[in-house]
């Protein structure tokens, strides 16, 4: 195998140093433009890091980080979601004070780097550390407005995430029991996978349960999904786009790695049951609350809970379900970024996210309305959305596995969700706007809308054509993590 140059070998180390240095620099910059350029430099560094990581796949650096297929795929998506969110943030935060703008960018950079660390970590403990770091970095974005609501959401987010992650630590300690080690424990996923064969099944069950409950706050699935909803509701919309995609993907990757590690052991059927229950309850929660929601950002947050619930159901099925889970997450990242970013424009134009204080969007900003409808098609898994393909595959797997009750339940719940989402979005687009509610014409920025269209078209293309490299990547991820 080709040995990379020494400089590249420590790519992630330099990336982390750059992230800390650039976020610090952002806080020192005297002008808004300087902050923007500095934060832009980080995104450039992140892109360079991705290119090097992509070229050197399979490499392990600093002992705890491996450039495996799963990490590389999601790091690529992090780059896409991060850049789109960053560009929208510049326009969205045009009236912010310099201090707030500095803190926002510093928090954004640290969050992005911490998420990358969690993706690349090959060790259960190191993943845990980065998950905890993301809680602190995300808190900066959630508290951005410094209002009473922001304070409440941030407190809840830090408190519940910290408690959840502490529970996950309990689970990881249960996992360490199977190593029977008196010396320093090697908590790498590879070592755990080797030791899983003769492990005590009760410990494994407890470990998996604690970890899934703990990490559910990051993946925004039942039972700790509520704080993610409050966080998305309160953070600035471009930050919500990032939290709902890159951060949620981090939760998925963390659970997927643990699931993959324990897959094939004596508790496989039990794990599948846990994931199935958590998935169904997530979709159920989304179904119940989506009908009542008036706030557009909250609406999308519940949609994230629904989609991640679907991902868990797919994971629980095993086999082709793995493919569905990974592809669904990829498409969801693209389409949810597009939707949240379009809503950031809606929020700027109307000055509110309350759907009943908006209307006539098709007349106010036709290009925005077209984008909104397209992203709506995307998020509701209506053809030609890539999510349509994954959901069809999921229903096929449910039929093959004779999970008829789940099939019917899921179909009914998805119909109700579809109705709720269309109902709200059609109100926004076509309901006559009351004269009392003014709109800001200067908030229409077609070049930003073009970015959203690119994201949603990418999600549409994946319905008809999945590039060979993506198919191979997903298949290799599955084979790597389900080796017994």
């Amino acid at each position: 195998m080709r040995q990379p140059a020494l400089l590249l070998y420590k790519m992630l180390l330099y990336f982390f140093i750059a992230a800390i240095a650039i976020s610090g620099l952002c806080l020192l910059m005297p002008r808004r433009l300087a902050v923007t350029i500095t934060a832009g430099l980080f995104l450039l560094a992140q892109l360079c890091c991705f290119m090097q990581v992509y070229k050197n796949q399979g490499l392990t650096e600093l002992y705890f980080f491996t450039y495996d297929k799963l990490a590389v795929l999601f790091f690529g998506l992090l780059n896409v979601a991060g850049m789109a969110s960053f560009v929208h943030s510049i326009a969205y935060l045009d009236n912010e004070s310099l201090k707030d703008y500095k803190f926002y960018n510093a928090g954004f950079i640290l969050l992005s780097a911490a998420i990358a660390g969690a993706y690349f970590s090959n060790n259960a403990m190191v993943s845990w550390i980065f998950l905890e770091v993301t809680t602190i970095a995300a808190a900066v974005l959630i508290y951005h407005r410094r209002t009473q609501k922001a304070l409440e959401a941030t407190w809840k987010y830090i408190f519940v995430c910290s408690t959840g992650v502490a529970l996950a630590y309990f689970g990881i300690l249960f996992l360490s029991l199977m190593l029977h080690s008196t010396a320093e424990a090697d908590m790498s996923y590879a070592a755990l996978r080797q030791a899983v064969g003769d492990a005590n099944s009760t410990y494994l069950k407890l470990a998996f349960l604690f970890i899934v409950v703990g990490y559910s706050c990051k993946m925004e699935v039942f039972p700790l999904h509520t704080i993610g909803i409050d966080a998305n509701n309160t953070a600035p919309a471009p930050a919500s786009a990032f939290l709902s995609t890159a951060m949620v993907n981090m939760g998925f990757v963390s659970i997927f790695r643990i699931y993959g590690t324990l897959y094939g052991s004596s508790i496989t059927a039990w794990m599948q049951g846990v994931l199935m229950v958590s998935g169904i309850l997530s979709v159920l929660m989304a179904t119940i609350y989506l009908r009542r929601v008036k706030n557009l950002k909250r609406l999308m947050a519940y949609s994230t809970v629904e989609n991640m619930g679907i991902v868990l159901i797919a994971l629980s099925l095993g086999g082709a379900g793995f493919y569905v889970a990974v592809l669904h997450t990829v498409v969801h990242t693209l389409v949810k970024s597009g939707m949240f970013l379009q809503l950031s424009q809606v929020g700027k134009i109307y000055g509110t996210y309350n759907v009943f204080k908006t209307g006539s969007y098709a007349r106010v900003y036709p290009l925005g309305a077209v984008t909104l409808v397209l992203t709506l098609l995307g998020i509701t898994a209506t053809p030609p959305s890539g999510l349509f393909l994954t959901e069809v595959m999921l229903f096929k797997e449910l039929t093959c596995g004779r999970h008829y009750v789940v099939f019917i339940l899921l179909a009914v719940m998805l119909c109700l969700i579809l109705y709720a989402l269309y109902n709200r979005m059609m109100y926004l687009c076509y309901n006559p706007l009351k004269e009392a509610h003014a709109t800001r014409a200067e908030a229409k920025r077609p070049w930003l809308t073009a970015i959203q269209l690119l994201l949603v078209f990418a999600a549409f293309i994946l319905c008809f054509y999945q590039p060979l490299w993506l198919q191979n990547n997903i298949n290799e991820i599955i084979s790597l993590f389900t080796k017994v």
């Binding site: 409440e152 830090i158 502490a166 249960f174 320093e184 409050d230």
Partner: protein, 183 residues
Amino acid sequence: MLIGMQGFLLFVISFALLDEIEPVNLAFIIVETVIFKAVIVPMLMHRIIRRTGINRVHKNALPTFYSLILTMVALLVSVALVFVLNDKAINPLSFAIALFALLSGLLLIVTHKRIFSHMVGFLVIENAVFMFSIAVGTEMPMLINVGILLDIFICVLILGVFITRINRKMHGMEIDALTTIKD
């Protein structure tokens, strides 16, 4: 005071249960238990109490009688689970204490109305995790230990800062005040 005592007890227990230890690990345990859990965290809590003027920490959402029953059930469940598992690889006493501390930490959060009590519950859970790591006896690399300690320290610090802000902005420490995010 109670949290400080718990921290000091953790040091005594971990020191008593260790068969052999390297100086670096000993230094780390002293930093984590004595300095962090028994001194810094209680000082931080005291500071919060002074700043917020809390005169009564316990304000239950559940009558004390039921809380007591639930605590006893938690104790029984912890002890029963340890007996059922009956594993020689794990120290049964530490395991039972860790499980009970975890459950009582969760109970503290669920049955109390004041967010200060919630923070105490969180700290009890953190101590439970430490106790469980002693019970398991798994030695983690130093780098990971430092990372975990730093993470927890920053979280406690930030939670402390937010408690004082909540008290200032919402004029109270009741969980009922934290219901403004509604649709």
